[in-house]
Amino acid sequence: MRLLLDRFPELAPSLWTDDDTVEVSVEGDGNVAVLWRLRDDPELNFWFLADAAAVDFGVGERFEVVYHLYSDRHPAWLRVRARVDRSDPHLPTITGLWEGAMFHEREMYDMMGIVFDGNRDLRRIYMSPDYRSFPQRKDFLLPDDAADSSAAGVNPLERPETWDLSGGSEGLSRGAVARAEGKA
Protein backbone atom coordinates (compact mmCIF):
# COMPACT_ATOMS: atom_id res chain seq x y z
CA MET A 1 0.00 0.00 0.00
CA ARG A 2 2.89 2.25 0.80
CA LEU A 3 4.32 1.32 -2.55
CA LEU A 4 1.04 2.18 -4.16
CA LEU A 5 1.11 5.59 -2.53
CA ASP A 6 4.69 6.15 -3.71
CA ARG A 7 3.77 5.42 -7.25
CA PHE A 8 0.46 7.19 -7.29
CA PRO A 9 0.59 10.18 -4.97
CA GLU A 10 -2.32 11.74 -6.81
CA LEU A 11 -4.61 8.89 -5.77
CA ALA A 12 -3.88 9.26 -2.07
CA PRO A 13 -7.05 11.16 -1.17
CA SER A 14 -9.26 8.41 -2.50
CA LEU A 15 -7.41 5.58 -0.83
CA TRP A 16 -9.59 3.31 1.25
CA THR A 17 -8.74 -0.02 2.72
CA ASP A 18 -10.59 -2.97 4.01
CA ASP A 19 -9.16 -6.07 5.60
CA ASP A 20 -8.59 -7.63 2.19
CA THR A 21 -9.19 -4.85 -0.29
CA VAL A 22 -7.39 -1.67 -1.25
CA GLU A 23 -9.42 0.83 -3.13
CA VAL A 24 -8.55 3.88 -5.19
CA SER A 25 -10.65 6.12 -7.38
CA VAL A 26 -9.75 7.78 -10.63
CA GLU A 27 -11.55 10.23 -12.82
CA GLY A 28 -13.15 8.75 -15.92
CA ASP A 29 -10.52 8.89 -18.64
CA GLY A 30 -7.61 8.21 -16.29
CA ASN A 31 -8.41 4.56 -16.07
CA VAL A 32 -6.17 3.28 -18.83
CA ALA A 33 -3.07 5.12 -17.66
CA VAL A 34 -3.50 4.00 -14.06
CA LEU A 35 -4.27 0.42 -14.92
CA TRP A 36 -1.40 0.28 -17.36
CA ARG A 37 1.09 1.46 -14.78
CA LEU A 38 -0.40 -0.87 -12.19
CA ARG A 39 0.00 -3.81 -14.50
CA ASP A 40 3.45 -3.09 -15.88
CA ASP A 41 5.18 -1.70 -12.83
CA PRO A 42 7.60 -4.47 -11.87
CA GLU A 43 7.00 -4.05 -8.17
CA LEU A 44 3.25 -3.66 -8.26
CA ASN A 45 2.59 -6.09 -11.08
CA PHE A 46 -1.17 -6.40 -10.94
CA TRP A 47 -1.31 -8.92 -13.74
CA PHE A 48 -4.78 -10.43 -13.39
CA LEU A 49 -7.97 -8.58 -14.12
CA ALA A 50 -10.37 -10.29 -11.80
CA ASP A 51 -13.46 -8.30 -12.59
CA ALA A 52 -14.75 -5.23 -14.34
CA ALA A 53 -18.22 -4.06 -13.51
CA ALA A 54 -20.36 -0.96 -13.75
CA VAL A 55 -22.42 0.53 -10.95
CA ASP A 56 -25.26 2.94 -11.46
CA PHE A 57 -25.80 5.49 -8.72
CA GLY A 58 -29.13 6.68 -9.94
CA VAL A 59 -30.55 9.45 -12.10
CA GLY A 60 -28.61 12.69 -11.79
CA GLU A 61 -25.69 10.92 -10.21
CA ARG A 62 -22.86 9.05 -11.86
CA PHE A 63 -21.77 5.69 -13.14
CA GLU A 64 -18.77 3.93 -11.81
CA VAL A 65 -16.75 1.31 -13.57
CA VAL A 66 -15.04 -0.85 -11.01
CA TYR A 67 -11.96 -2.91 -11.82
CA HIS A 68 -10.66 -5.55 -9.48
CA LEU A 69 -7.03 -6.50 -9.87
CA TYR A 70 -4.85 -9.18 -8.40
CA SER A 71 -1.11 -9.30 -7.90
CA ASP A 72 1.12 -12.03 -6.55
CA ARG A 73 3.11 -9.51 -4.53
CA HIS A 74 0.25 -8.19 -2.44
CA PRO A 75 -2.23 -9.99 -0.28
CA ALA A 76 -5.20 -7.75 -1.07
CA TRP A 77 -7.46 -7.21 -4.03
CA LEU A 78 -7.01 -3.83 -5.62
CA ARG A 79 -10.18 -2.05 -6.57
CA VAL A 80 -9.99 0.84 -9.01
CA ARG A 81 -13.14 2.89 -9.32
CA ALA A 82 -13.48 5.07 -12.37
CA ARG A 83 -16.16 7.72 -12.34
CA VAL A 84 -18.22 8.16 -15.48
CA ASP A 85 -20.54 11.01 -16.26
CA ARG A 86 -24.05 9.61 -16.30
CA SER A 87 -25.45 11.98 -18.88
CA ASP A 88 -22.62 11.27 -21.33
CA PRO A 89 -21.18 7.91 -20.36
CA HIS A 90 -17.89 7.49 -22.18
CA LEU A 91 -14.78 5.72 -21.01
CA PRO A 92 -11.61 4.61 -22.80
CA THR A 93 -11.43 0.89 -23.34
CA ILE A 94 -8.93 -1.32 -21.55
CA THR A 95 -9.09 -4.11 -24.12
CA GLY A 96 -5.59 -3.02 -25.12
CA LEU A 97 -4.32 -4.08 -21.71
CA TRP A 98 -6.40 -7.19 -21.19
CA GLU A 99 -8.13 -8.70 -24.20
CA GLY A 100 -10.47 -10.45 -21.83
CA ALA A 101 -12.03 -7.15 -20.87
CA MET A 102 -13.90 -7.34 -24.15
CA PHE A 103 -16.86 -9.30 -22.83
CA HIS A 104 -16.86 -7.26 -19.64
CA GLU A 105 -17.15 -4.07 -21.62
CA ARG A 106 -19.75 -5.49 -23.95
CA GLU A 107 -21.79 -6.50 -20.96
CA MET A 108 -21.45 -3.07 -19.38
CA TYR A 109 -22.50 -1.48 -22.64
CA ASP A 110 -25.45 -3.79 -22.93
CA MET A 111 -26.63 -3.48 -19.36
CA MET A 112 -25.70 0.07 -18.44
CA GLY A 113 -25.14 1.86 -21.72
CA ILE A 114 -21.57 2.90 -21.02
CA VAL A 115 -19.69 3.47 -24.27
CA PHE A 116 -16.10 2.33 -24.32
CA ASP A 117 -14.15 4.35 -26.83
CA GLY A 118 -11.76 2.29 -28.87
CA ASN A 119 -13.44 -1.04 -28.24
CA ARG A 120 -13.54 -2.92 -31.51
CA ASP A 121 -16.63 -4.93 -30.79
CA LEU A 122 -18.93 -2.80 -28.71
CA ARG A 123 -22.35 -4.27 -29.35
CA ARG A 124 -25.04 -5.93 -27.33
CA ILE A 125 -24.06 -9.23 -25.83
CA TYR A 126 -27.10 -10.51 -23.96
CA MET A 127 -30.01 -8.56 -25.34
CA SER A 128 -31.03 -8.66 -28.99
CA PRO A 129 -29.38 -6.12 -31.32
CA ASP A 130 -32.58 -4.13 -31.78
CA TYR A 131 -33.15 -3.69 -28.07
CA ARG A 132 -33.31 -0.08 -26.97
CA SER A 133 -33.06 0.07 -23.17
CA PHE A 134 -30.29 -0.55 -20.72
CA PRO A 135 -31.77 -2.96 -18.23
CA GLN A 136 -29.44 -2.64 -15.29
CA ARG A 137 -29.75 1.08 -14.89
CA LYS A 138 -31.57 2.00 -11.75
CA ASP A 139 -34.28 3.84 -13.66
CA PHE A 140 -35.21 0.66 -15.46
CA LEU A 141 -37.92 -0.75 -13.28
CA LEU A 142 -39.28 -4.19 -12.90
CA PRO A 143 -42.63 -3.70 -11.21
CA ASP A 144 -43.89 -7.00 -12.42
CA ASP A 145 -41.16 -8.97 -10.77
CA ALA A 146 -40.53 -6.86 -7.77
CA ALA A 147 -43.93 -5.95 -6.37
CA ASP A 148 -44.55 -9.39 -4.99
CA SER A 149 -41.02 -10.16 -3.98
CA SER A 150 -40.20 -10.66 -0.37
CA ALA A 151 -38.81 -7.18 -0.21
CA ALA A 152 -41.98 -5.60 -1.54
CA GLY A 153 -43.03 -2.62 0.45
CA VAL A 154 -39.60 -1.65 1.57
CA ASN A 155 -38.34 -0.76 -1.85
CA PRO A 156 -39.51 2.63 -3.03
CA LEU A 157 -38.80 1.61 -6.59
CA GLU A 158 -41.84 -0.51 -6.75
CA ARG A 159 -44.53 1.94 -5.75
CA PRO A 160 -47.29 2.19 -8.28
CA GLU A 161 -46.74 5.89 -8.85
CA THR A 162 -43.32 5.17 -10.25
CA TRP A 163 -44.45 2.56 -12.66
CA ASP A 164 -44.66 4.90 -15.56
CA LEU A 165 -41.25 4.73 -17.12
CA SER A 166 -41.67 7.43 -19.69
CA GLY A 167 -42.27 10.52 -17.60
CA GLY A 168 -42.48 10.21 -13.90
CA SER A 169 -39.17 8.82 -12.89
CA GLU A 170 -38.57 11.49 -10.25
CA GLY A 171 -40.24 9.52 -7.53
CA LEU A 172 -37.85 6.70 -7.78
CA SER A 173 -34.76 8.64 -8.51
CA ARG A 174 -35.20 10.66 -5.36
CA GLY A 175 -35.06 7.51 -3.35
CA ALA A 176 -32.16 6.12 -5.27
CA VAL A 177 -30.23 9.36 -5.10
CA ALA A 178 -30.86 9.65 -1.40
CA ARG A 179 -29.55 6.19 -0.83
CA ALA A 180 -26.62 6.72 -3.13
CA GLU A 181 -25.70 9.81 -1.15
CA GLY A 182 -25.92 7.88 2.04
CA LYS A 183 -23.44 5.43 0.68
CA ALA A 184 -21.07 7.61 -1.24
Partner: protein
Protein backbone atom coordinates in the same frame (compact mmCIF):
# COMPACT_ATOMS: atom_id res chain seq x y z
CA UNK B 1 -18.32 -24.16 -53.42
CA UNK B 2 -18.78 -23.02 -56.95
CA UNK B 3 -17.08 -19.75 -57.64
CA UNK B 4 -19.26 -16.92 -58.81
CA UNK B 5 -18.60 -15.83 -62.37
CA UNK B 6 -16.16 -12.98 -62.33
CA UNK B 7 -17.30 -11.10 -65.40
CA UNK B 8 -20.80 -9.79 -65.10
CA UNK B 9 -22.99 -7.13 -66.52
CA UNK B 10 -22.47 -3.89 -64.53
CA UNK B 11 -26.19 -3.28 -64.43
CA UNK B 12 -26.72 -6.71 -62.93
CA UNK B 13 -24.11 -6.02 -60.29
CA UNK B 14 -25.83 -2.78 -59.45
CA UNK B 15 -29.17 -4.51 -59.12
CA UNK B 16 -27.69 -7.20 -56.93
CA UNK B 17 -26.02 -4.56 -54.78
CA UNK B 18 -29.29 -2.71 -54.41
CA UNK B 19 -31.11 -5.87 -53.44
CA UNK B 20 -28.47 -6.63 -50.86
CA UNK B 21 -28.79 -3.16 -49.39
CA UNK B 22 -32.54 -3.51 -49.19
CA UNK B 23 -32.13 -6.77 -47.36
CA UNK B 24 -29.62 -5.20 -45.03
CA UNK B 25 -31.95 -2.32 -44.31
CA UNK B 26 -34.75 -4.72 -43.50
CA UNK B 27 -36.87 -3.53 -46.42
CA UNK B 28 -36.95 -6.82 -48.25
CA UNK B 29 -36.97 -10.41 -47.04
CA UNK B 30 -33.92 -12.51 -47.59
CA UNK B 31 -33.84 -13.83 -51.14
CA UNK B 32 -34.94 -17.40 -51.47
CA UNK B 33 -32.66 -18.71 -54.09
CA UNK B 34 -32.77 -22.20 -55.46
CA UNK B 35 -30.54 -25.08 -54.65
CA UNK B 36 -27.34 -23.58 -56.04
CA UNK B 37 -24.53 -23.26 -53.56
CA UNK B 38 -24.20 -19.53 -53.93
CA UNK B 39 -27.59 -19.29 -52.32
CA UNK B 40 -26.18 -20.46 -49.05
CA UNK B 41 -24.24 -17.31 -48.59
CA UNK B 42 -27.17 -15.05 -48.00
CA UNK B 43 -28.68 -17.23 -45.34
CA UNK B 44 -27.25 -16.57 -41.92
CA UNK B 45 -26.04 -13.04 -42.54
CA UNK B 46 -27.41 -10.67 -39.94
CA UNK B 47 -30.43 -8.76 -41.17
CA UNK B 48 -28.94 -5.40 -40.37
CA UNK B 49 -25.74 -3.60 -41.32
CA UNK B 50 -22.74 -4.54 -39.21
CA UNK B 51 -22.04 -2.12 -36.42
CA UNK B 52 -18.57 -2.80 -35.17
CA UNK B 53 -15.21 -3.52 -36.74
CA UNK B 54 -15.25 -7.02 -35.44
CA UNK B 55 -18.71 -7.71 -36.76
CA UNK B 56 -17.65 -6.41 -40.13
CA UNK B 57 -14.72 -8.78 -40.01
CA UNK B 58 -16.78 -11.84 -39.18
CA UNK B 59 -19.81 -11.24 -41.35
CA UNK B 60 -17.99 -10.27 -44.53
CA UNK B 61 -17.51 -13.34 -46.61
CA UNK B 62 -14.63 -13.93 -48.96
CA UNK B 63 -14.70 -16.22 -51.93
CA UNK B 64 -15.60 -19.75 -50.91
CA UNK B 65 -16.54 -18.99 -47.36
CA UNK B 66 -19.87 -19.55 -45.72
CA UNK B 67 -21.46 -19.01 -42.35
CA UNK B 68 -22.69 -21.92 -40.31
CA UNK B 69 -24.86 -21.33 -37.31
CA UNK B 70 -23.94 -23.77 -34.62
CA UNK B 71 -26.77 -23.36 -32.16
CA UNK B 72 -28.87 -22.14 -30.43
CA UNK B 73 -30.29 -25.62 -30.89
CA UNK B 74 -27.41 -27.93 -31.47
CA UNK B 75 -26.46 -31.22 -29.85
CA UNK B 76 -23.24 -29.96 -28.32
CA UNK B 77 -23.31 -26.31 -27.41
CA UNK B 78 -23.58 -27.04 -23.68
CA UNK B 79 -26.89 -25.30 -23.33
CA UNK B 80 -28.23 -22.65 -25.59
CA UNK B 81 -25.44 -20.75 -27.22
CA UNK B 82 -24.97 -19.84 -30.81
CA UNK B 83 -21.60 -19.99 -32.45
CA UNK B 84 -21.50 -18.37 -35.85
CA UNK B 85 -18.75 -20.21 -37.65
CA UNK B 86 -17.25 -18.74 -40.76
CA UNK B 87 -15.95 -21.77 -42.57
CA UNK B 88 -14.02 -22.45 -45.71
CA UNK B 89 -15.04 -26.01 -46.40
CA UNK B 90 -14.34 -27.75 -43.13
CA UNK B 91 -11.81 -25.22 -41.94
CA UNK B 92 -12.95 -22.63 -39.45
CA UNK B 93 -11.93 -19.14 -40.45
CA UNK B 94 -13.56 -17.19 -37.66
CA UNK B 95 -16.01 -17.61 -34.82
CA UNK B 96 -18.46 -15.21 -33.33
CA UNK B 97 -20.16 -16.43 -30.17
CA UNK B 98 -23.66 -15.03 -29.83
CA UNK B 99 -24.94 -15.15 -26.28
CA UNK B 100 -28.05 -14.23 -24.42
CA UNK B 101 -30.39 -17.09 -25.20
CA UNK B 102 -30.48 -18.00 -21.52
CA UNK B 103 -30.23 -14.51 -20.11
CA UNK B 104 -32.45 -14.14 -17.08
CA UNK B 105 -31.16 -10.90 -15.62
CA UNK B 106 -30.13 -12.53 -12.39
CA UNK B 107 -28.09 -9.52 -11.28
CA UNK B 108 -31.14 -7.33 -11.56
CA UNK B 109 -33.32 -9.88 -9.82
CA UNK B 110 -30.83 -10.09 -6.98
CA UNK B 111 -30.88 -6.33 -6.62
CA UNK B 112 -34.58 -6.67 -5.92
CA UNK B 113 -34.25 -9.57 -3.52
CA UNK B 114 -33.19 -9.69 0.09
CA UNK B 115 -29.73 -10.87 0.99
CA UNK B 116 -31.04 -14.30 1.94
CA UNK B 117 -33.02 -14.87 -1.19
CA UNK B 118 -30.06 -13.94 -3.36
CA UNK B 119 -28.73 -17.39 -2.53
CA UNK B 120 -31.62 -18.99 -4.36
CA UNK B 121 -31.17 -16.83 -7.43
CA UNK B 122 -27.49 -17.57 -7.90
CA UNK B 123 -28.00 -21.32 -7.71
CA UNK B 124 -29.23 -21.83 -11.27
CA UNK B 125 -26.50 -19.66 -12.74
CA UNK B 126 -23.70 -22.12 -13.10
CA UNK B 127 -25.81 -25.12 -12.40
CA UNK B 128 -22.91 -27.53 -12.20
CA UNK B 129 -21.31 -25.64 -9.34
CA UNK B 130 -24.24 -24.26 -7.41
CA UNK B 131 -22.37 -24.48 -4.12
CA UNK B 132 -19.60 -22.23 -5.39
CA UNK B 133 -22.17 -19.78 -6.66
CA UNK B 134 -23.54 -19.53 -3.15
CA UNK B 135 -20.17 -19.41 -1.48
CA UNK B 136 -19.04 -16.14 -3.02
CA UNK B 137 -22.16 -14.12 -2.11
CA UNK B 138 -22.10 -15.62 1.36
CA UNK B 139 -18.55 -14.37 1.93
CA UNK B 140 -19.33 -10.98 0.42
CA UNK B 141 -22.46 -10.49 2.49
CA UNK B 142 -20.71 -11.57 5.64
CA UNK B 143 -18.07 -8.95 4.95
CA UNK B 144 -20.79 -6.37 4.42
CA UNK B 145 -22.78 -7.32 7.47
CA UNK B 146 -19.74 -7.77 9.66
CA UNK B 147 -20.51 -11.28 10.82
CA UNK B 148 -18.31 -14.33 10.76
CA UNK B 149 -19.54 -17.83 10.16
CA UNK B 150 -18.72 -20.33 12.92
CA UNK B 151 -15.80 -22.62 12.29
CA UNK B 152 -17.89 -25.71 11.81
CA UNK B 153 -19.95 -23.86 9.24
CA UNK B 154 -16.79 -22.95 7.37
CA UNK B 155 -15.70 -26.57 7.37
CA UNK B 156 -19.07 -27.74 6.12
CA UNK B 157 -18.91 -25.10 3.41
CA UNK B 158 -15.51 -26.23 2.27
CA UNK B 159 -16.71 -29.82 2.33
CA UNK B 160 -19.76 -29.28 0.15
CA UNK B 161 -17.85 -27.02 -2.18
CA UNK B 162 -15.20 -29.64 -2.77
CA UNK B 163 -17.87 -32.29 -3.28
CA UNK B 164 -19.39 -30.06 -5.87
CA UNK B 165 -16.04 -29.67 -7.58
CA UNK B 166 -15.66 -33.43 -7.75
CA UNK B 167 -18.85 -33.98 -9.69
CA UNK B 168 -18.33 -30.97 -11.89
CA UNK B 169 -14.87 -32.10 -12.99
CA UNK B 170 -16.09 -35.66 -13.34
CA UNK B 171 -18.82 -34.50 -15.69
CA UNK B 172 -16.37 -32.42 -17.68
CA UNK B 173 -14.46 -35.57 -18.58
CA UNK B 174 -17.69 -37.01 -19.88
CA UNK B 175 -18.75 -33.92 -21.80
CA UNK B 176 -15.38 -33.66 -23.47
CA UNK B 177 -15.64 -37.27 -24.60
CA UNK B 178 -19.23 -36.83 -25.70
CA UNK B 179 -18.37 -33.88 -27.87
CA UNK B 180 -15.75 -36.01 -29.52
CA UNK B 181 -18.22 -38.82 -30.11
CA UNK B 182 -17.44 -41.06 -27.13
CA UNK B 183 -20.74 -42.12 -25.66
CA UNK B 184 -19.79 -43.86 -22.47
CA UNK B 185 -17.71 -41.55 -20.24
CA UNK B 186 -20.58 -39.12 -19.76
CA UNK B 187 -22.66 -41.90 -18.24
CA UNK B 188 -19.89 -42.95 -15.89
CA UNK B 189 -19.57 -39.28 -14.99
CA UNK B 190 -23.24 -39.17 -14.18
CA UNK B 191 -22.94 -42.20 -11.93
CA UNK B 192 -20.47 -40.26 -9.86
CA UNK B 193 -22.53 -37.12 -10.05
CA UNK B 194 -25.66 -38.86 -8.89
CA UNK B 195 -23.91 -40.16 -5.83
CA UNK B 196 -22.52 -36.75 -4.94
CA UNK B 197 -25.82 -35.09 -5.56
CA UNK B 198 -27.56 -37.56 -3.28
CA UNK B 199 -24.94 -36.77 -0.69
CA UNK B 200 -25.53 -33.08 -1.01
CA UNK B 201 -29.25 -33.58 -0.82
CA UNK B 202 -28.69 -35.46 2.42
CA UNK B 203 -27.16 -32.32 3.87
CA UNK B 204 -29.09 -29.60 2.09
CA UNK B 205 -32.37 -31.24 1.12
CA UNK B 206 -32.06 -30.51 -2.58
CA UNK B 207 -30.28 -32.25 -5.39
CA UNK B 208 -29.32 -29.51 -7.74
CA UNK B 209 -30.24 -26.02 -6.56
CA UNK B 210 -29.17 -26.37 -3.00
CA UNK B 211 -29.99 -23.04 -1.35
CA UNK B 212 -27.71 -24.18 1.43
CA UNK B 213 -25.51 -21.24 2.33
CA UNK B 214 -26.73 -18.50 4.62
CA UNK B 215 -25.27 -15.20 5.62
CA UNK B 216 -23.29 -16.22 8.67
CA UNK B 217 -23.35 -19.96 8.26
CA UNK B 218 -25.11 -22.77 6.52
CA UNK B 219 -28.68 -23.94 6.54
CA UNK B 220 -28.21 -27.34 8.16
CA UNK B 221 -25.61 -29.10 10.18
CA UNK B 222 -24.06 -32.21 8.73
CA UNK B 223 -25.91 -35.13 10.29
CA UNK B 224 -25.08 -38.77 10.74
CA UNK B 225 -26.92 -39.71 7.59
CA UNK B 226 -24.70 -37.41 5.61
CA UNK B 227 -21.51 -38.76 7.12
CA UNK B 228 -22.51 -42.36 6.64
CA UNK B 229 -23.35 -41.68 3.00
CA UNK B 230 -20.10 -39.77 2.63
CA UNK B 231 -18.18 -42.78 3.88
CA UNK B 232 -19.88 -45.06 1.37
CA UNK B 233 -19.28 -42.61 -1.43
CA UNK B 234 -15.64 -42.09 -0.48
CA UNK B 235 -15.02 -45.81 -0.62
CA UNK B 236 -16.21 -46.05 -4.21
CA UNK B 237 -15.62 -42.64 -5.71
CA UNK B 238 -12.37 -43.37 -7.49
CA UNK B 239 -13.92 -46.33 -9.29
CA UNK B 240 -16.00 -44.39 -11.78
CA UNK B 241 -13.28 -41.85 -12.30
CA UNK B 242 -10.76 -44.53 -13.02
CA UNK B 243 -13.19 -46.11 -15.45
CA UNK B 244 -13.26 -42.87 -17.39
CA UNK B 245 -9.52 -42.53 -17.19
CA UNK B 246 -9.02 -46.01 -18.59
CA UNK B 247 -11.28 -45.23 -21.49
CA UNK B 248 -9.84 -41.82 -22.30
CA UNK B 249 -6.40 -41.03 -20.96
CA UNK B 250 -4.37 -43.53 -22.97
CA UNK B 251 -6.74 -43.85 -25.88
CA UNK B 252 -4.87 -43.16 -29.09
CA UNK B 253 -7.82 -41.55 -30.80
CA UNK B 254 -8.47 -39.30 -27.82
CA UNK B 255 -4.81 -38.32 -27.54
CA UNK B 256 -4.56 -37.75 -31.24
CA UNK B 257 -7.42 -35.34 -31.16
CA UNK B 258 -6.49 -33.46 -28.00
CA UNK B 259 -2.71 -33.18 -27.79
CA UNK B 260 -1.57 -30.01 -29.46
CA UNK B 261 -5.13 -28.91 -30.04
CA UNK B 262 -6.20 -25.45 -28.96
CA UNK B 263 -2.92 -24.45 -27.36
CA UNK B 264 -3.36 -21.44 -25.11
CA UNK B 265 -0.13 -19.97 -23.81
CA UNK B 266 0.01 -18.62 -20.28
CA UNK B 267 0.43 -15.04 -21.48
CA UNK B 268 -2.58 -15.24 -23.77
CA UNK B 269 -4.64 -16.90 -21.08
CA UNK B 270 -3.91 -14.11 -18.61
CA UNK B 271 -4.69 -11.49 -21.18
CA UNK B 272 -7.98 -13.18 -22.00
CA UNK B 273 -8.95 -13.39 -18.36
CA UNK B 274 -9.11 -17.18 -18.44
CA UNK B 275 -8.91 -18.51 -14.90
CA UNK B 276 -9.15 -21.67 -12.89
CA UNK B 277 -8.16 -25.06 -14.29
CA UNK B 278 -7.95 -23.63 -17.80
CA UNK B 279 -5.36 -21.10 -16.72
CA UNK B 280 -3.43 -23.62 -14.65
CA UNK B 281 -3.38 -25.99 -17.60
CA UNK B 282 -1.44 -23.27 -19.38
CA UNK B 283 1.16 -23.32 -16.64
CA UNK B 284 0.13 -20.31 -14.57
CA UNK B 285 -0.13 -21.31 -10.90
CA UNK B 286 -3.09 -19.13 -10.01
CA UNK B 287 -5.62 -20.67 -7.68
CA UNK B 288 -7.78 -18.38 -5.58
CA UNK B 289 -7.71 -20.91 -2.79
CA UNK B 290 -3.96 -20.25 -2.47
CA UNK B 291 -3.61 -16.82 -4.02
CA UNK B 292 -6.19 -15.13 -1.86
CA UNK B 293 -7.20 -17.70 0.72
CA UNK B 294 -10.73 -17.71 1.97
CA UNK B 295 -12.77 -19.92 4.25
CA UNK B 296 -10.57 -22.61 5.81
CA UNK B 297 -8.26 -23.23 2.89
CA UNK B 298 -5.21 -21.84 4.72
CA UNK B 299 -5.59 -24.69 7.19
CA UNK B 300 -5.57 -27.41 4.54
CA UNK B 301 -2.56 -28.88 2.87
CA UNK B 302 -2.57 -28.86 -0.89
CA UNK B 303 -0.42 -27.69 -3.77
CA UNK B 304 -1.47 -25.76 -6.83
CA UNK B 305 -1.40 -28.21 -9.71
CA UNK B 306 -0.31 -26.98 -13.11
CA UNK B 307 0.20 -28.51 -16.51
CA UNK B 308 2.60 -27.29 -19.13
CA UNK B 309 0.77 -28.11 -22.35
CA UNK B 310 -2.01 -25.57 -22.47
CA UNK B 311 -3.87 -27.76 -24.96
CA UNK B 312 -7.10 -29.67 -24.66
CA UNK B 313 -5.33 -32.70 -23.24
CA UNK B 314 -3.62 -30.58 -20.60
CA UNK B 315 -6.95 -29.11 -19.58
CA UNK B 316 -8.38 -32.59 -19.33
CA UNK B 317 -5.44 -33.86 -17.26
CA UNK B 318 -5.70 -30.77 -15.07
CA UNK B 319 -9.33 -31.62 -14.32
CA UNK B 320 -8.44 -35.19 -13.47
CA UNK B 321 -5.62 -34.10 -11.16
CA UNK B 322 -7.78 -31.52 -9.43
CA UNK B 323 -10.52 -34.03 -8.98
CA UNK B 324 -8.16 -36.28 -7.06
CA UNK B 325 -6.89 -33.30 -5.13
CA UNK B 326 -10.44 -32.42 -4.15
CA UNK B 327 -11.00 -35.91 -2.82
CA UNK B 328 -7.79 -35.52 -0.83
CA UNK B 329 -9.08 -32.19 0.52
CA UNK B 330 -12.38 -33.77 1.49
CA UNK B 331 -10.49 -36.35 3.55
CA UNK B 332 -8.62 -33.59 5.35
CA UNK B 333 -11.76 -31.57 5.99
CA UNK B 334 -13.62 -34.53 7.44
CA UNK B 335 -10.63 -35.32 9.67
CA UNK B 336 -10.41 -31.81 11.01
CA UNK B 337 -14.13 -31.08 11.27
CA UNK B 338 -14.70 -29.26 14.60
CA UNK B 339 -17.87 -29.28 16.65
CA UNK B 340 -20.05 -26.31 17.32
CA UNK B 341 -22.84 -24.23 15.86
CA UNK B 342 -23.27 -23.84 12.13
CA UNK B 343 -25.09 -20.55 11.99
CA UNK B 344 -24.29 -17.20 13.54
CA UNK B 345 -27.09 -15.11 14.98
CA UNK B 346 -28.34 -13.30 11.91
CA UNK B 347 -31.90 -12.10 11.37
CA UNK B 348 -33.88 -13.20 8.38
CA UNK B 349 -33.84 -9.85 6.65
CA UNK B 350 -30.53 -8.13 7.17
CA UNK B 351 -29.75 -4.52 6.52
CA UNK B 352 -25.97 -4.17 6.34
CA UNK B 353 -24.36 -0.80 6.79
CA UNK B 354 -23.61 1.02 3.54
CA UNK B 355 -20.43 -0.35 2.09
CA UNK B 356 -18.80 -2.45 -0.58
CA UNK B 357 -17.44 -5.93 -0.54
CA UNK B 358 -15.67 -8.11 -3.05
CA UNK B 359 -15.32 -11.84 -2.63
CA UNK B 360 -13.86 -14.40 -4.98
CA UNK B 361 -13.89 -18.17 -4.83
CA UNK B 362 -12.29 -20.84 -6.96
CA UNK B 363 -15.10 -22.53 -8.81
CA UNK B 364 -14.57 -25.58 -11.05
CA UNK B 365 -14.47 -23.22 -13.98
CA UNK B 366 -12.27 -20.54 -12.50
CA UNK B 367 -12.46 -17.37 -10.51
CA UNK B 368 -16.03 -16.75 -9.53
CA UNK B 369 -16.43 -13.42 -7.80
CA UNK B 370 -19.11 -11.22 -6.36
CA UNK B 371 -19.05 -7.49 -5.89
CA UNK B 372 -21.86 -6.33 -3.65
CA UNK B 373 -22.77 -2.80 -2.65
CA UNK B 374 -25.09 -2.16 0.25
CA UNK B 375 -26.99 1.05 0.73
CA UNK B 376 -28.35 0.17 4.14
CA UNK B 377 -31.51 -1.34 2.73
CA UNK B 378 -32.62 -4.94 2.82
CA UNK B 379 -31.60 -5.59 -0.77
CA UNK B 380 -28.16 -5.25 -2.28
CA UNK B 381 -27.87 -1.99 -4.15
CA UNK B 382 -25.62 -3.54 -6.73
CA UNK B 383 -24.90 -7.21 -7.06
CA UNK B 384 -22.32 -8.12 -9.62
CA UNK B 385 -21.21 -11.62 -10.45
CA UNK B 386 -18.23 -12.53 -12.56
CA UNK B 387 -18.80 -15.91 -14.04
CA UNK B 388 -15.62 -17.65 -15.18
CA UNK B 389 -17.13 -19.50 -18.11
CA UNK B 390 -18.42 -16.23 -19.54
CA UNK B 391 -14.90 -14.87 -19.69
CA UNK B 392 -13.26 -18.12 -20.81
CA UNK B 393 -15.54 -18.22 -23.80
CA UNK B 394 -13.53 -15.42 -25.36
CA UNK B 395 -10.64 -17.78 -25.82
CA UNK B 396 -12.50 -19.95 -28.32
CA UNK B 397 -12.53 -17.46 -31.23
CA UNK B 398 -8.84 -16.90 -30.58
CA UNK B 399 -7.94 -20.57 -30.73
CA UNK B 400 -10.08 -21.85 -33.55
CA UNK B 401 -9.05 -20.15 -36.80
CA UNK B 402 -7.36 -22.67 -39.05
CA UNK B 403 -8.77 -25.66 -37.23
CA UNK B 404 -11.59 -27.94 -38.27
CA UNK B 405 -15.25 -27.76 -37.33
CA UNK B 406 -14.91 -30.94 -35.32
CA UNK B 407 -12.24 -29.34 -33.14
CA UNK B 408 -14.49 -26.45 -32.21
CA UNK B 409 -16.47 -28.84 -30.11
CA UNK B 410 -13.45 -30.38 -28.45
CA UNK B 411 -11.90 -27.03 -27.62
CA UNK B 412 -15.13 -25.64 -26.32
CA UNK B 413 -15.78 -28.67 -24.15
CA UNK B 414 -12.27 -28.43 -22.77
CA UNK B 415 -13.06 -24.99 -21.39
CA UNK B 416 -16.14 -26.53 -19.81
CA UNK B 417 -18.46 -23.55 -20.15
CA UNK B 418 -21.89 -23.69 -18.57
CA UNK B 419 -24.39 -21.54 -20.36
CA UNK B 420 -26.43 -20.90 -17.25
CA UNK B 421 -23.44 -19.03 -15.94
CA UNK B 422 -22.44 -17.44 -19.20
CA UNK B 423 -25.82 -15.90 -19.77
CA UNK B 424 -26.57 -15.08 -16.15
Amino acid sequence: MTAEPTIRDPLEIERAEEARLRVAAGLAPLPRSGGEFAGFESVGLPDRPPQTDREQEVYTLDEGEMLVNMGPQHPSTHGVMRLVLKVRGEIVVDIDPVLGYLHRGIEKLCENATYTTVMTYVDPMDYLSAMHNEHAPAIAFEKLYGVKAPRRAEYIRALVVELNRVFSHGLMMGFLALDMGGLTPILYGFINRDEVVDLLSAISGQRMLFNFFRVGGVNFDANDEFFSRLGTWRAGVLKTIEMNERILTDNEIFRGRTIGMGVLSGKEAISLGVSGPNLRASGVPFDVRKAHPYSIYPELEFEVITQSGGDVYARYMQRVAELKQSIHLIDQIVDKMPHGPVQAQVPGIIRPKPGRAYAAVESPRGLYSVYAISDGGPNPYRFRMRDPSFISLQAIPKLMPGRLIADTMAVMASFDPVMGGVDK
